[in-house]
């Protein structure tokens, strides 16, 4: 195991041991954990459909608690969201069109020629293709930013970036 992996694991343990990111508001933490469950469940559903549509398994799937929406001039994050990303290597000629058909229940919209946006309640997902990455399709699933109590911002310092996650 690399030092980097050890550090990531240590950060994850920090959160688990502390019952959250430090001594933070239980209600906010619960909200974030609920978002994690919702995003993970939807990401697994999407991944399962995409695996069939694209005839490929998800690769490099990672999860993250992402600090977002910087607060004025402060260097602390004032909100967090949970997100998952993964990618598929496919031979499908028009993967976004195929995904759009198979995921019609989630209001698919092409935001550009190479990105398909999906909605599920307050959750958002994107499937993206890459002009110079033929056969590669990225999947991104995230929840909305959850505001942190201003006086607790400093306690939210143990979030995890880029831990592997199982989407099966």
């Amino acid at each position: 195991m690399t030092a980097r992996a050890l550090v990531a694991m240590a950060a994850a343990l920090t959160i688990l041991v502390a019952g959250g990111c430090g001594g933070v508001n239980d209600e906010t933490y619960t909200k974030l954990e609920r978002q994690r469950d919702d995003v993970l469940a939807w990401a697994r559903d999407l991944s399962s459909v995409a695996a069939t549509t694209l005839a490929a398994s998800p690769e490099d799937a990672t999860e993250s608690y992402d600090g977002v929406a910087r607060s004025g001039l402060s260097d602390q994050f004032k909100s967090y969201k949970y997100d998952i990303q993964a990618r598929f290597a496919t031979e499908q000629q028009d993967p976004l069109a195929a995904l759009s058909d198979d995921l019609a229940a989630y209001d698919p919209t092409l935001t550009t020629s190479n990105a398909l946006r999906l909605s599920h309640g307050d959750l958002t997902a994107f499937f993206q293709t890459y002009p110079k990455g033929p056969g590669r399709v990225g999947m991104f699933v995230e929840g909305p930013a959850i505001e942190i109590d201003h006086d607790q911002i400093r306690d939210w310092d143990g979030f995890v970036v880029g831990e592997p996650v199982d989407l099966q």
């Binding site: 550090v7 950060a11 600090g67 004025g72 260097d75 970036v161």
Partner: protein
């Protein structure tokens, strides 16, 4: 006339090859970090503790007798580990290269196999037309020679793989018992010592580059492992070497300090660990981010890492992309409240700019965030009341820009970008030192510094000084315009913890508002669709957000696509009333900057 047609042979199967050179390289890096840790401990045990002055006379002699051998043993272990690490790192590099060649071979093989099938089909039955027979013969001969070239490439590839495996196996077979380690390495001069002794004493990055180029591979590897703090933070040393060295330092801090229970860390250790964690967050953010054009993950390059700099505020610079080779390089300087704890946030800004540059057509870009000066932060924020910190930061930034130019032999495109107080810092670097940047971008600027009367003073030509100011960005309104500063008026409405800081900045007189017509810079559109209806702080921190005018325009500047930069009307300050900003009446747009 007889025509002999020989069908091309079916190309041999490309063997399975699943080795992951990156992972092997990571293992080598971790081992090299261990070697560095041993080196530190060896130096301490073998001498530094005694030399600290705490021990004297008989106690010092007893220390030397008891612990010098241990110090030597630990040093020997460090050298043995380094030798193994270097072998594994080399093998990792080989595997990365072999994997690329393997993919090419696989593609070639598939293509050739299809060709052979097609030719076999054409030959069965043979065409009756003589011209067609001649064409078939020539196609078969060409394909045969391509198959032969493939077969010979495959043999060379197999031999190279075997040679690399044999090299690393031979090096690891030399892995020894503790006794053998001492016999082989104890008392052996560390190649790093001679290299360090020959290092230029001044800061001239060109001399440093010449010195580095003059070292042997062994000396460079030794310096990297034994003195990562020096290699990682000396301007003129190539970015890849600095990245390797800083990776060692960062991994070492995370491993060593993370192993100490939190309640047993000293204040200094805790500060160092917190800053290392912040740098790690930045590194992870970058490595998790994806290029919107290729779909590949970015590779972080840790260009500077000094977690105890500036009384514990820390210094770190990290690039998305390769600073040694990218055609377009940008250095992004943050401002107020920035210390090393903000590394993750600044990494996100660099990622966003890198993604936007790629999306806008940039093919070779490296975007670096640079927390390399003592920016006003925390209790330091009073420093914002004067330009001293920006001027001192400007000196350090100029050193960094000079270092980037010295380490590159080619003519690359360099853009210095400053946000908030960082824009004053960039302006000072450019005005006071004229380092070799091609373009300058000032974002949400509270002023371009007292030394700059106009854009021309920054030394890159006024057409290459670009300014992005959201019309409702309070900080962007603080610079001097006309003959009455509006700043103090704006400061009066501020409340909250940041109000005092900005109020000080308002009264500080940080120079001209670069968005004003008198200054003569190129102002680009930088409004936000979520722009406030009155001057505010939130509009000060949106410049790097995706799908904003400012990020799209910055990407064009970084790519050197000057015609694509969307110009904005400059602010002006008539004598009979306050400053007027034509941008405040324009409806903001939201250009796509990442393909989503």
């Amino acid at each position: 006339m007889t025509i002999t047609i020989s069908l091309p042979p079916t190309p041999s199967e490309t063997p399975e090859f699943t080795a992951d050179g990156q992972k092997v390289h990571e293992a080598g890096s971790t081992l090299r970090t261990s070697s560095s840790i041993f080196d530190d401990h060896g130096s301490f045990v073998g001498g530094k503790a005694k030399d600290s002055g705490l021990l004297d006379g008989r106690s010092a002699a007893a220390y030397a007798q008891a612990l010098n051998p241990i110090g030597k043993h630990v040093d020997a272990c460090s050298l043995a580990l380094r030798a193994a690490a270097n072998a594994i790192l080399g093998h990792g590099d080989d595997l990365v290269d072999l994997r690329k060649r393997h993919q090419r071979l696989k593609d070639d093989r598939e293509h050739l196999a299809r060709q052979v099938d097609a030719l076999t089909a054409r030959a069965n039955p043979l065409p009756t037309d003589e011209a067609e027979l001649h064409t078939l013969k020539s196609d078969c001969d060409r394909c045969t020679s391509q198959v032969e070239a493939y077969e010979s490439d495959l043999v060379r590839w197999t031999e190279d793989l075997r040679a690399s495996e044999e090299r690393v196996a031979a090096a690891l077979r030399g892995a020894m018992t503790e006794q053998q380690v001492d016999q082989t390495y104890a008392g052996v001069a560390d190649p790093a010592d001679a290299a360090r002794d020959s290092m230029p004493s001044g800061k001239d990055p060109t001399a440093v580059k010449a010195w580095w180029d003059g070292l042997t591979e062994e000396q460079r590897a030794a310096m990297t492992a034994a003195d990562p703090e020096i290699v990682g933070n000396t301007d003129g040393i190539p970015a890849a070497a600095r990245g390797d060295a800083n990776t060692i330092s960062l991994d070492r801090d995370l491993a060593e300090l993370g192993a100490i229970p939190e309640d047993q860390r000293t204040d200094a250790e805790q500060t160092r660990y917190d800053n290392a964690r912040a740098a790690e967050e930045a590194r992870l953010r970058i490595s998790r981010s994806i290029d919107p054009i290729t779909g590949e993950n970015y590779v972080p390059q840790v260009y500077a890492y000094d977690p105890m700099a500036f009384d514990g505020d820390g210094a770190v610079a990290m690039a998305v992309g390769d600073l040694d080779t990218a055609d377009n390089v940008s250095v992004n300087v943050p401002g107020l409240t920035t210390d090393m704890g903000a590394a993750g946030d600044n990494a996100q800004n660099a990622i966003n700019l890198q993604q936007a540059a790629a999306f806008e057509g940039g093919t070779s870009t490296a975007t670096m965030f640079w927390i390399g000066y003592d920016a006003p932060s925390g209790a330091d924020s009073v420093g914002v009341a004067a330009e001293d910190m920006a001027a001192a930061g400007g000196e350090r930034l100029a050193d960094t820009l000079d270092g980037l130019n010295a380490m590159r032999a080619d003519d690359f495109h360099l853009t210095a970008i400053g946000h908030s107080y960082g824009s004053t810092t960039v302006a000072h670097a450019m005005t006071d030192r004229h380092p070799g940047a091609d373009d300058v971008v000032l974002l949400g600027s509270p002023g371009a510094g007292d030394d700059a009367d106009s854009a021309g003073d920054l030394g890159v030509g006024s057409g290459h000084v670009f300014v992005g100011t959201n019309s409702e960005d309070l900080v962007g309104r603080l610079g001097q315009t006309g003959w009455v500063s509006p700043a103090a008026l704006g400061a009066g409405v501020l409340t909250g913890p940041l109000g005092g800081v900005v109020a000080q900045m308002a009264g500080a007189g940080l120079g001209h508002n670069p968005a004003e017509d008198d200054f003569g810079a190129v102002r680009f559109q930088a409004e936000s669709t979520s722009r406030g209806s009155m001057p505010n702080i939130d509009d000060h921190v949106k410049y790097y957000d995706h799908d904003t005018e400012s990020l799209a325009n910055m990407a064009h500047i970084v790519n050197g696509q000057y015609d694509e930069v969307v110009r904005a009307g400059q602010a002006h300050d008539p004598w009979y009333r306050g400053p007027v900003d034509p941008e405040s009446d324009r409806t903001p747009t939201s250009p796509n900057t990442d393909g989503r």
